[in-house]
């Protein structure tokens, strides 16, 4: 079975962990994230005729107190960049983070996840900005941890992109 290491990145409290919680297999407690800054989960995705095991490194959200350990990115085949759609600042932070990620780990397939899509009235990312990003080459998906919308799609899209490499 094919295995891929993927990382999940994004600012603190954009809802990364809660986004995937219902969709992945997990054996470790969230305490790992606060102590060593990462927690490992697993997701099996069907791609074409084969199953692919995604080993998901759920990396602690970056904030003023804790920077992401770039060494955790080593060897990843792709990553999810999570943004809180109701806070525009998190998108800017994500883009800045993305620069550092590319610098460290090189260019690998990635999916930009605009989370909290259920909170439409508070949505801060306009469609112009979104289409700019698409033009820049981003795979973008709106998701909701609350409803579970498009979460499976995030994984399958990233898997497809990685297999295409």
């Amino acid at each position: 079975m094919l295995q891929k290491k993927i990382c999940m990145l994004g600012s603190f409290s954009v809802g990364k962990t809660s986004l995937v919680r219902r969709f992945v297999e997990s054996i470790f407690s969230d305490a790992y994230q606060t102590s060593i800054g990462v927690k490992i989960d697993k997701k099996v995705v069907r791609a074409g005729n084969e199953d692919v095991t995604l080993v998901l490194w759920d990396i602690h959200g970056e904030d003023v107190y804790q920077k992401i350990r770039m060494s955790y990115l080593r060897g990843m085949s792709g990553y999810l960049l999570a943004v809180d759609g109701t806070r525009r600042q998190t998108l800017d932070d994500a883009m800045a983070l993305n620069e550092r990620v590319i610098q460290e780990a090189g260019k690998v397939p990635a999916v930009l996840v605009l989370n909290k899509s259920d909170l439409t009235e508070k949505w801060e990312i306009d469609s112009t900005r979104e289409s700019e990003l698409t033009t820049a080459g981003w795979n973008i998906l709106r998701t909701s941890a609350k409803t579970g919308a498009s979460v499976e799609e995030v994984f399958s899209k990233l898997t497809a992109a990685m297999l295409a490499e």
């Binding site: 054996i27 990462v38 490992i40 697993k42 060494s71």
Partner: protein, 594 residues
């Protein structure tokens, strides 16, 4: 000053002879030496131009080194010259990127280090094993005490001390991605998802590397999780992690290193080009399994049940021994008490045991044996018993007989026996002892009646034979006469002697002899005459005996006529024997007489 002079001298020389207008000479010289001069200039240029010089040297440097090496001591000189540079080069290389050298040296350094460590460890382990083996029995007890003291299980203590362990899982992890390449598990071990565990191990490795020791790229060698240890062996492209229950010996690390080296070598290109497909590493399972199988040891628990059994056996033996000994003592004591109870002259009213000592209360006849002596005789310690026995008169037959014996002093030949108050005295004794025995015996406590009917007078017994001899004599007389028949003199003399003897003998024994001289007649004649005649005959014999020296006190003559015929008178012989004097001898104790 001399310094200036010296410096000026070379400058001044060409100035002293300038080529004044000597153009022709100059031209000539040019014609002659120009080619050489150009050549010299070219050489000079080559020497001065570093790039060209380097180019020149580069074409011959290898040959030059070879040539130098061939010379005597050349190799050493070269090494000496080059070593600072090489050292500096290596230092610089490591400073820049330690991976390059580390990766290059990895296949070579592993075995070298391992060999050296193995040698050291072997010596250490050998002595350790020997010590362990030699002291196993005593050790076992010590461990048990330790287990009891620390509240841990004995198994844990054994595990702790004898380095027993079990490798439960082995992971082969791709170093770069943290993805699991291969995973083997010991039988009957439950595991978590290996891909997540491998990922987490990598994350922890990274964390430790980042946090503590990022410079040397040294990583975590082991993790402790309760009873489990995770040993991690880090290679350039792959990592082996072994999950161990207990404490593995140091040489297990060598086995891990060897396996990792082999994997690095065998799968070098697969590791380098790994894109998430673990299929090429399936064959590594066998290598990893060997790590499981060869290092898995059964706990050396064989002695455990044996030691436990021995301990139990000892305890059982001790308990049984104690019970047996106690029972034996109890049995001995009850036997002793029964013996005491059965002992005539002792009555046990009660007994109890206080502080290991028996206290016995009751009564004891003064004639009964000492109970302490009985105790010693039974093999028991007299110090363990205390007797509180009041004196009394026992009516036990044996004691009564003993008491009678003590008071009556029976002479030899007399036996005493007693039954229900009747004392039987049997045997032969002197008439003096016999005379008082009945009166004295009746006073003895326990004696109600006395039977002396079976007592015989020893004196009478001695005198019986001569008495019979005398009493069988017939002194015969003729019809109608009071003179002895002729021919009776001898009989008379003999009888007289016998009488003298028996009187003397009886006197010696304290007996007074009384001899009746009984005169008889036959039935012829008239009765009145016969009576008289018989009296005369008795008197006649008495007179003769008196003359023969027999004391008169002993003789009592009397005539019985025909009243006591000795024979029937059918024949002449019968009538003859009735015309006679016969004797009747009796004895009386002298004291009784007095």
């Amino acid at each position: 000053m001399p310094e200036q002079a010296q410096r000026r001298a070379p400058q001044g020389q060409p100035e002293e002879n300038p080529p004044d207008n000597n153009h022709a000479y100059e031209e000539l010289r040019h014609l002659i030496v120009a080619p050489e001069q150009e050549e010299i200039a070219d050489i000079q240029e080559r020497l001065e131009d570093r790039a060209r010089r380097a180019e020149d040297v580069s074409s011959v440097v290898a040959e030059a080194i070879s040539m130098r090496c061939e010379k005597k001591d050349g190799e050493r000189a070269l090494a000496k010259a080059l070593s600072p540079t090489i050292q500096e080069t290596l230092r610089e290389s490591v400073r820049k990127d330690p991976h390059v050298l580390a990766d290059a040296l990895f296949p070579m350094m592993g075995p070298a280090i391992r060999k050296s460590i193995t040698e050291t460890l072997r010596a250490m382990l050998e002595s350790f094993n020997a010590a362990l083996e030699h002291s196993l029995s005593a050790q076992g007890i010590k461990w048990r005490i330790e287990a009891f003291r620390t509240g841990k299980s004995f198994g844990e203590i054994v595990l702790m001390h004898s380095l027993l362990y079990r490798v439960e899982q082995v992971f082969l992890i791709h170093r770069q991605t943290g993805l699991v390449l291969s995973h083997v598990v010991a039988t009957s071990v439950s595991t978590q998802d290996p891909s997540m565990v491998a990922g987490m191990l990598s994350a922890i490795q990274q964390f430790v590397r980042d946090s503590f020791d990022s410079k040397n790229e040294e990583t975590l060698g082991s993790l402790n999780v309760g009873e489990l240890e995770v040993w991690i062996e880090d290679g350039p492209d792959a990592v082996i992690a072994a999950v161990i229950r207990g404490h593995a010996p140091p040489d297990y690390r060598l086995a891990m290193e060897e396996a990792l080296e082999e994997i690095q070598q065998r799968y070098s290109s697969a590791l380098e080009n790994f894109k998430g497909d673990a299929a090429p590493f399936q064959s590594a399972d066998e290598l990893l399994s060997r790590l499981l199988a060869t290092q898995h040891r059964e706990p050396v628990g064989e002695r455990k049940p044996r030691a436990a059994l021995a301990t139990i056996a000892i305890v059982v033996i001790l308990v049984l021994g104690w019970i047996g000994y106690s029972s034996y003592l109890l049995w001995e004591w009850s036997r002793f008490l029964n013996a005491v109870r059965g002992q005539p002259g002792i009555v046990v009213i009660s007994y109890d045991k206080q502080g290991g000592r028996y206290h016995i209360r009751g009564f004891k006849d003064p004639l009964a044996p000492d109970p302490n002596a009985l105790l010693s005789h039974a093999g028991l310690n007299p110090n363990n018993a205390e007797f509180d026995l009041a004196p009394y008169y026992s009516l036990d037959d044996a004691i009564v007989v003993q008491r009678a014996r003590q008071l009556l002093h029976p002479p030899e030949g007399v036996t005493l026996s007693e039954h229900q108050g009747e004392l039987d005295v049997e045997g032969t004794a002197s008439p003096r002892w016999i005379a008082g025995v009945a009166d004295r015996a009746i006073l003895i406590p326990g004696v109600a009646t006395v039977d002396v009917s079976h007592l015989q007078d020893s004196h009478l017994l001695q005198l019986k034979a001569p008495q019979s001899a005398i009493e069988s004599v017939f002194l015969l007389f003729p019809v109608g006469r009071a003179e002895l028949e002729p021919g009776q003199e001898n009989t008379f003399d003999q009888t007289q002697k016998q009488i003298r003897d028996i009187v003397a003998q009886a006197e010696h024994l304290g007996e007074q002899t009384s001899i009746e001289l009984i005169g008889h007649t036959d039935s012829t004649g008239i009765e009145g005459t016969n009576q008289l005649l018989s009296q005369q005959r008795a008197e006649q014999v008495r007179a003769r005996l008196l003359r023969g020296g027999v004391p008169p006190a002993n003789l009592r003559p009397r005539g019985v006529g025909t009243t006591q015929p000795l024979r029937t008178e059918d024949t002449e012989e019968g009538r003859r024997l009735n015309r006679s004097v016969t004797f009747k001898v009796t004895f009386t104790p002298t004291s009784a007489v007095n």
